[in-house]
Symmetry: C2
DNA sequence: ACCTGAACACCGTTCAAGT
DNA sequence: ACCTGAACACCGTTCAAGT
């Protein structure tokens, strides 16, 4: 009898029996924090063969892969392939796929590089938003990457920079955090390209037939406004227009200016 | 020599050779449109054994699964398991995993049920936002579901309803669409719970040690504002506060009211 | 027309070896 | 200490059968 098979089977049973058997083994967050922040730690000299890889190389490969093939094309297997290594070897350098996501996000965000702040807090915030958006546009997969609450130095530095620029607005701490969340979420969601959104991306090629069919369906179900958008070719996912972005951004900032506390600029 | 193996190999080669070999076989969108909208089509009487399943049953199972285990726990395998059927059998009813996502989204959104509109367009829009948010809160996985541009009757009905309620604002068609996109995106992104966000959800249990470590890292790197949030326990992902949502919503609407064209309410 | 069984091309992760 | 080989538990999808 194969002991290994039995063991695996037992493991599976345990998983199925678990009351809310979703949670993976708890991640040691404190440990990950140190790992993610400690990128610049000099490689310790250790006995045994020296490493053939480095975290930086793994990140490089991941970025290249994602840039070329999107989130869907990113996997540990492909990263390893690109580095001429077996997949398992990567686990000497990273914890899990999840940690790779965090590292890629950190690299793609980079440290915030903003134009010098002026006296207008709202101008400063707009600059921040455009700068962050540039990062998203440079890496279309970035907004689609599955990552938990930000814990890396770069993501947090962007948040810090925003809070700094919101200081001039006169919003109290709670309101400032809410404003920051709103702005951050807006930049991210407005940078989400539909091609990255769906796992299996479908070329929406046959627009002719589609608008035809959709148009009659919408008429049939009495949705005149959406129908108007479709026939006016306004309902096009592809065009992530820059004017669209500015519209939303201006709207949010105008709204913030309206908030009780802020002083007029 | 095994013909099958050869064939598969050839297929793989073809995939690898493809210039931008990401795209899956193009989805026939017009066909999917008909399938997604035609839920109420009476089952045709056909020769052969009658179906043991229905699209509705598959959707039921998918919803139950996602409600219980989140996006990560949703798969064709599990759906089939729950219906006492092999995975392959599902392909008699649905096109692909992608189509299942669309169907689940449609079901979870449901047809918009809104309180009667008043004279205040901004009040009407707020009601819309809260109603949609309720749908997201009822199905925490909904905001995390990977779905392309909305094409189903329910998603589009929600959009239609919003555009209808924006009519009173005096915004022109372009501005109204932008406002709708902004509002829709805000409701979605503000409903995204971090537990659904990351593929392998990590229980951020050891807050004690984490805030400790993070605090000193932030001090070291001169991020006083973020540090203040952490020590003030404000930087908690869990609490998707209702006041937070209202803040952002009010802000957006106040901003819209500021827009050149709209008439004051 | 439906469902199954078998096979395929992927995934992330773990463990026992080799050096 | 590092890397490989082998194995595992998943995924979605296709195809040739059976009824």
């Amino acid at each position: 009898m194969d002991e290994r098979a039995l063991e695996a089977c037992a493991r599976k049973e345990a998983r199925m029996d678990a009351p809310a058997g979703d949670q993976s083994p708890p991640v040691n967050l404190a440990e990950r924090l140190r790992r993610v922040w400690g990128a610049s730690i000099p490689p310790r000299v250790r006995p045994g063969p020296k490493a053939s890889l480095s975290r930086e190389q793994i990140i490089d490969a991941g970025i290249a892969l994602a840039d070329a093939h999107g989130v869907a094309g990113l996997s540990l297997v492909r990263v390893a392939e690109r580095l001429n290594v077996t997949t398992n070897a990567l686990y000497r350098y990273i914890d899990s796929r999840d940690e790779l996501n965090v590292l890629l996000q950190e690299r793609a965000f980079g440290a915030p590089n903003l134009p010098a702040a002026s006296d207008d807090w709202d101008e400063n915030v707009k600059q921040w938003a455009h700068a962050l958006r540039d990062r998203y546009l440079a890496h279309p997969w970035l907004a689609a990457l599955a990552v938990n609450v930000p814990i890396g130095p770069n993501s947090l530095a962007w948040l810090e920079a925003l809070l700094d620029r919101l200081d001039g607005s006169g919003l109290d701490q709670t309101a400032a955090l809410r404003a920051a969340t709103l702005l951050d979420g807006y930049v991210k969601s407005s940078s989400l390209t539909p091609s990255e959104l769906a796992a299996r991306t479908a070329p929406i090629a046959d627009t002719q037939a589609v608008t035809q069919v959709l148009g009659s369906l919408l008429a049939e179900h009495h949705m005149p406004r959406v129908a108007a958008l479709v026939t006016a070719k306004l309902y096009q996912p592809a065009t992530s227009n820059d004017d669209d972005f500015t519209f939303g951004l201006n709207c949010i900032i105008a709204g913030l200016r309206q908030h009780p506390t802020p002083k007029p600029r």
